[in-house]
Symmetry: D2
Subunit: 339 residues, 4 copies
Amino acid sequence: MIVVMENGAREEAISKVVEKLEENGFLIHLSKGVERTIIGAVGDKSRLADLSIEAMLSVDRVINILAPYKLASREFKSENTIIKLGDVTIGGEEIQIMAGPCAIESREQALEIADIVKRSGAKIMRGGAFKPRTSPYAFQGLGEEGLKILREAGEAYGLKIITEVMEPGNVEMVAHYSDILQIGARNMQNFPLLKEVARFDKPILIKRGLSATIEEWIMAAEYVLNGGNDKVMLCERGIRTFETYTRNTLDLSAVVAAKQLTHLPVIVDPSHGTGKWKLVGPMALAAVTAGADGLIVEVHPRPSEALCDGSQSLTEENFNKLLIQIKKIANAVDREAVQ
Amino acid sequence: MIVVMENGAREEAISKVVEKLEENGFLIHLSKGVERTIIGAVGDKSRLADLSIEAMLSVDRVINILAPYKLASREFKSENTIIKLGDVTIGGEEIQIMAGPCAIESREQALEIADIVKRSGAKIMRGGAFKPRTSPYAFQGLGEEGLKILREAGEAYGLKIITEVMEPGNVEMVAHYSDILQIGARNMQNFPLLKEVARFDKPILIKRGLSATIEEWIMAAEYVLNGGNDKVMLCERGIRTFETYTRNTLDLSAVVAAKQLTHLPVIVDPSHGTGKWKLVGPMALAAVTAGADGLIVEVHPRPSEALCDGSQSLTEENFNKLLIQIKKIANAVDREAVQ
Amino acid sequence: MIVVMENGAREEAISKVVEKLEENGFLIHLSKGVERTIIGAVGDKSRLADLSIEAMLSVDRVINILAPYKLASREFKSENTIIKLGDVTIGGEEIQIMAGPCAIESREQALEIADIVKRSGAKIMRGGAFKPRTSPYAFQGLGEEGLKILREAGEAYGLKIITEVMEPGNVEMVAHYSDILQIGARNMQNFPLLKEVARFDKPILIKRGLSATIEEWIMAAEYVLNGGNDKVMLCERGIRTFETYTRNTLDLSAVVAAKQLTHLPVIVDPSHGTGKWKLVGPMALAAVTAGADGLIVEVHPRPSEALCDGSQSLTEENFNKLLIQIKKIANAVDREAVQ
Amino acid sequence: MIVVMENGAREEAISKVVEKLEENGFLIHLSKGVERTIIGAVGDKSRLADLSIEAMLSVDRVINILAPYKLASREFKSENTIIKLGDVTIGGEEIQIMAGPCAIESREQALEIADIVKRSGAKIMRGGAFKPRTSPYAFQGLGEEGLKILREAGEAYGLKIITEVMEPGNVEMVAHYSDILQIGARNMQNFPLLKEVARFDKPILIKRGLSATIEEWIMAAEYVLNGGNDKVMLCERGIRTFETYTRNTLDLSAVVAAKQLTHLPVIVDPSHGTGKWKLVGPMALAAVTAGADGLIVEVHPRPSEALCDGSQSLTEENFNKLLIQIKKIANAVDREAVQ
């Protein structure tokens, strides 16, 4: 950490900062320039957040040199984390495709889509039972009934299941039915939820928040890792920018960065990332090229009848066409997909 | 609602959209231009979110004409909502000042600050017992112990209390100790939490999310209103933009807009809104000028010893200086503050 | 400047960075931590931009400690810059109101508005002759004819004139007719234009770019100051964010920051800043409270007939009502307006 | 265009809007709902920008249905524009690689890099002679001397040349030396410059502005097309968002969108798009997968000695490695690169 003092900071003010840092176990390097004094401090970074050095007299700025995460970093663990779910691996050679509807609407719909997903060669089915909706008047999902249907569909077709959990009190229930727990973008900094999912022996997929920096996204993973669950994957799903043509701006450079900075698998959601089904295919392929370990894609047999996100859902036909292209691209980057 | 069809959309596609809308009770006005056919639909807007019209064949775009909120709107209720907490009113003539530390750190600290707040003339004390922190290694608040201290401080000095509640399972506990429940920016779209606080007879302050549009912010209020709790106030606390000099960009035009679009009281948090105590004062005054019904300000006797947010906390001296200016400004806009 | 080396950087790499910095006249302070080596460098900051230290082997990051501007800074010149235009002063006690139409449309329109402005008590008239328009099909302004009209209107009513100059080749012409030269938001980083206006003895108003940081905005002023023209004022006119309800997000904290960081007058444009005339008044008042030295406001006798920006223009009636409130607010912050 | 009237708008106000639109040649479709009256207007969209309908009494909003561009649109011209530069084609089967330094620093440097570019198989060399720099104290480029060097290097190695032109007064000079004229991101809405380059028979590459929407970017192309130059290509180079880890956020979905909405070639600049050479390679590959027609990449033999942008420049070795991967990816998407 580096503390930059204000121009003209008095000796006394400088000493107080040095003192406080030393009291907290930091080693100090002092550098007095003509205009500014700069204090370098080496020590236990996890204590820094609580020191309020910025608020001390004559302190201009505090600059953190080291990343605030540890367990998630490549420096801590250099080899890729590979998550195993029976015979399905996430983060290895194979690019995993997670596909399904925005929301589970009925048993028939779920089974029909599970059939589509199975026949496509994908191994994981997505589908929402608890839906975070901007409007209280919009369809909120089938709840536990939806989870039961998902479970049944997964078992009937030999698919792993991923679904979102929205509140700490529901984690146990959702974990009972689902193979993977999804933390939605709006809950990326729902810390009680992150702490709770860390207690379960289930893989966790953490969607990047709409305005979360890459560092904050990794810190959300750090919460789960620190809570004792090391089966964490990150999911880029678009960030909010000034652009309105796309629902969000899918930030593929965040995928590259996350793969370099952490050892965790990174999944990409081109459906929410673009909001327009015509953009989903090209961005899914670009994501694989950029290094994504998997894709989570909305598929619906009849998007115009979907209870949510119809405009960004692929039909079976478009989904299958996309998978053919994904195989080619995966091959070009020396990986595999949908064998 | 307006449905814009693609250039060259066939009659059949147009008919299907019309049909679906009519089946759902909408009145249709069809307008065929040279390049585009446009379908106007009048009906129950609350059903729209579930129709997935955008996903229908040859539909280019769906444009919502009416605001998606109802209970929060000025059209629904034209007079200002005034929330009463004993002899304290929020949303009336008087501009309410809520002041206190980022986090309750100890009984001594809380009582010392309560004394500062009381002597300043402010009537509401803020203070966090459950703290949402980006890092799992940072101080997370004292929890229920912090709530007890807050309650004690409030009672000892005759101050109302506001504190944050972070998860549905804790609402009852927090409501037991606090006069006002605060929904933090990161939880603005924590829908289970919004539904839960709606069940309690306590005023709710909803902070605007870091990347929430004004409409989404009002929709969060709509969740609480729709859940049966009409004591809702909005709080602007800065949005996330590309600017890094300030911690957030305090959007005072959102205050003006929210006052025009809704009947709810609007509070401003210049501490989180700027992140720098030197900016807090001028922005607090500007907020009052823009029409804010209250301010929530971080005050700490020794900011450099604060366990969080020290750099944006005012000292007692600066806080009292600010209050003198607030009185002058309140007077200039025909309101009152800290009598 | 601080250079942070990568974890595990070799001695040789560290030495090369130190060497390069020393060759360029920097004094070096080396600090070797357990995980990272950090190199502090003190010297001529204006040379830093050309050194490409970031690209050296094993360099993780370069952090600039000092602001990159000098002439614009409060540290360089502590007292406020006051710009004199005959008997009109900008940056002093008096808050200056610049008012007029988006575009000069005709001699009649210009004279009618000049009359409104004069009677209101304002001393400076704005009006565009060269208009930057997103569409090549939109009205582009009357050009030199518009400048002549503006000049005539200014002289007829004893008003100072401000108008935009869009290209280096036109500066001489615009300077011939106008008292103040305006650099539009889209041209804030049009460096040839900044260099050219620096050559004239006319006050320059620099609008903040749509996505310009406060630092970049001040650097634009530094270009003009460095070019020899010290009559520079900054103008906050809203930044582009994700919010679409307002045309831009008017960042009043940038006004406070610019007043603290520089000695230059700061003007606020609430018309472009909000894009909605119903928001213009409250935000104009908030700007004055935040410390603005002036306002630039769009006024049109019949906004619905304006050739541009009608929706954000005030009528004469609303403008005069606003001025009454501005006087009250100016008084509350110990300043004057429209005596 | 659709005009949404306010709730409770009077007949008179509605009639006035209808009248004004009809006077300007629009066909009107009136739709009166319970809460709102909506006016659909079909006519010459290029006149809309000047009508100020938004400012008319009781008008709530004006919504444009049709894109504001015509010449650039796929609806106007369905087949891809292919730009020919001697035997080099841009926008066809082959993905063109434009490579070279941020700035031309000397004759030796330019010739050395031209040699690298030529041997790599790329056909176009980039290099700046006029550099837009945030700081007036930073290296501003060699000016015309740099152009001469570029020309010489291009001729010596049989490479086409692309370089930036920053002001209308310099277009003739730059066009004399360069094969392609580049409009920088900061000049995307420098309308006098766009109008000027339209007068020359040279291909124009238009970089997307830091905060330009996809629509505004296309409108910049429309300026050039409307000025009579149909050799226009678009270049995505990253937009400004809240994320600070990357210099900009490279928006590959804008590439997909621009290819769908227009017939123009789209180039991607992964160097400025990311700002970090370690991200350049993966994002270059992802861009090709997303449909880019070319890449513009910063290459420098010794990035740490570069006078600008060293941290985002590739060495010869990394550049050649990247080209091998680009060939594989181009092949997987049925295109060619660097034969």
